[in-house]
Symmetry: C2
Amino acid sequence: MSSSAPLRALNIDNINPHVKAARYAVRGELAVRSEKYRAQLAKGDKGDLPFDTIISANIGNPQQLDQKPITFFRQVASLLENPALLEKEDVLTEALGYKSDVIARAKWLLKEVKSVGAYSQSHGAPGIRESVAKFIERRDGYPADSANIYLSAGASSGVNTLLHIICAKPESGILVPIPQYPLYTATLSVLDARCVPYYLNEGHGWGTDLAEIRSAYDKAIAEGTDVKAIVIINPGNPTGASLPAADIKSVLEFAAEKKLVVIADEVYQTNVFEGEFLSFKKGLRDLQKASPGEYDNIELVSLHSVSKGMVGECGHRGGYFELIGFDPAVAAEIYKFISIQLCPPVIGQCIVEMMVNPPKEGEPSYELYKSEYDGIYEGLKKRAFALYEAFKQMEGVDCQTPAGSMYLFPTITLPPKAIAQAEKEGRKPDEFYAFRLLDATGICVVAGSGFGQKEGTLHFRTTFLAPGTEWVGRIIKFHKEFMDEFRD
Amino acid sequence: MSSSAPLRALNIDNINPHVKAARYAVRGELAVRSEKYRAQLAKGDKGDLPFDTIISANIGNPQQLDQKPITFFRQVASLLENPALLEKEDVLTEALGYKSDVIARAKWLLKEVKSVGAYSQSHGAPGIRESVAKFIERRDGYPADSANIYLSAGASSGVNTLLHIICAKPESGILVPIPQYPLYTATLSVLDARCVPYYLNEGHGWGTDLAEIRSAYDKAIAEGTDVKAIVIINPGNPTGASLPAADIKSVLEFAAEKKLVVIADEVYQTNVFEGEFLSFKKGLRDLQKASPGEYDNIELVSLHSVSKGMVGECGHRGGYFELIGFDPAVAAEIYKFISIQLCPPVIGQCIVEMMVNPPKEGEPSYELYKSEYDGIYEGLKKRAFALYEAFKQMEGVDCQTPAGSMYLFPTITLPPKAIAQAEKEGRKPDEFYAFRLLDATGICVVAGSGFGQKEGTLHFRTTFLAPGTEWVGRIIKFHKEFMDEFRD
């Protein structure tokens, strides 16, 4: 592959070693192979493939799997893209069925951004940031200030920004849950900083375990790591967990004790199937209210996105983060850092605005909005439990009850012969299993090793976004045949 | 500002020093002050301000300054956002005036991306990358392969990617023209790599000067810098230059001799007012054709964007880069790096497609497209020369003939008293001048020191995007009063 490397300025041995060290399995070799199959099937060239469709269960990409966008959002977006349509309101309302609140929202957003083709302020249009602040106030019952809201190109870009600011040197460390969404470890690799892993408690619905966090912290400190922050992904990716209030409280108390920035990745905050979502911001304000003065030093950042939930607009790359308790001088550096890339996509910012400020009861678009939103929610919940029930009946598969996010992360216990075969093929056992699943069924999942897992355990992550249940049958059939093939 | 810093995890003294070291004047203190004035005026609270409007001549943001988007692009985009409209073709064509090629393009793009709300491949939707490759073939008369095209969130994101790959260690160095667009120096600061500055030749229309490049290279090598690449911005930002073929050839020959990656920032390729744009890709292929075998080792990357030119869709964050001559193993690392941030905005990718494949002669939307495109071009050219003529009559101001991009970068010679006053106020003289200009006229430019300039020279960068010529009069009047105030 690199046969001509010596002739060139750049080769695999002299590029940035920290980029090379990064791993991001969600779009890795398995995903690339599934795209190859998809292209092959699209050409009508099925060949030897034992399936007719590819199910991309490797990535939370709702609209790729036929989740319909919310009508209100897209009607408004069509007017933002072509404001000339607003000169024909009668056509919009009579012939196209656009309601008056669609038109009003488009006009208001255009006033705020002038044009979706113009750069905005680097942290987003002021009016949109104000909408976000009001949403947070309604959600938590505590004030929020638009000056602390930073719109971003999806939550990923926000995480990238924050880790860039926090990681000051190779000894800088960030507590990251294992299993985790690999954005965290990949970005820390690129930054040449340290991931300080703490294991989630699979037996307790993948909750946080304070003793485990404490021991991970102590070990890192003993190794000379300057631990600066703790990441929490709630609801959990890849785990599907939804954290109880007690877990949130204990993490905040620990962060206060050790003076850690809390990075709360809350992009799945509306994907909750068990109990209610509790934000870290509310958890913090509750704690501060209960013990005045004691938790004032906590720095918290909460991230959200239009990519997930019932919105599912990941292609629009919209998101935001809220800074709580940050030093203004540090916030100014965050602003400067994001200004180098100018601004997040403006139409994505507008989708953020609509996500946090959807049609309200009594407004013309409310009924349709609510029925679409609820329909998506119920569909996701139904498929989550259908998949969970399927996993329950599969030999050697053990899965926590679906509680939140878009994923299930079952444990798989593979026969020794399968593990031996994996080793022979130079693959980790869970990767071997995932490749076999793809080759046999067209279903693409991600091996647990892509997220991290306890030594000696094996998992895979699957979304439950794909429509229908036929594909669940494919998994059951494959798994039985796989176990039969490798059973002792 | 940081009085509470010791209580917090993060303060200005312990965050990432490389982020702190970065400078990005385009959105710096001056721009922030201008936004403050704008907000004040918007509230109807003029106060003591001696002007009624803010002219943001600091940043190439065409639609913020009333440049109208191209109708074809926005009509298609409206259908991409709301595909339900395609079910009412008769309304679109009869009541809304959408032509058949608008509808056909929207359908084709939707087939390629499925939904603008879905993630695409990390380097962009395959069909869109193919359109880009065909555009490059038409432009240069040489083949291009869509496998080498990487869509990005504007060109800025592409530059960020490339510098991340190339800069392997603190000694890694990149030759950067001075003056330059500060994205380069800012990103190199963040990466803790070295900027190797080479001066452009102001007296020769801000062209490249091989002797100067050679001497900058030799000096860097002597200092232990591992020089890996050379950046060229053509047409020039901030200089307004358009490079002749001879300059391009000499840079390529030098890059081949020293084995340097050539980073050709060609985002202003359609903003050319003098001669014709010649791409580095064409320059390279011409060279390879003339001397077979001699220049096969050159690695070139060319960047383009929807933000500039007559498109001006910067808020959509669309762009691409083409890799030429890269090692496939290095390209795979580039793919992995961008996959961590998932994908560029999909609607921005669609705008890229329309930019590189606009309506053709004979197609229904062609006439309107052409008249809009030509109108914008002629308007920019007219305003560039109006500004140039104004600068010619201003005392102590000297400006190169407008040749390309969206900027003029005149030299200003300030009286010693002004320089003394600047020093007293703790500002660089050109910053002092730019703040005075803003405070007196509401016009925001960027001081030359934000881009780099030869020791002892002073400049400012202004766009010529603002409509009308009234604001040019404001500059002339301010400048005269400024010179009168400080003249010896």
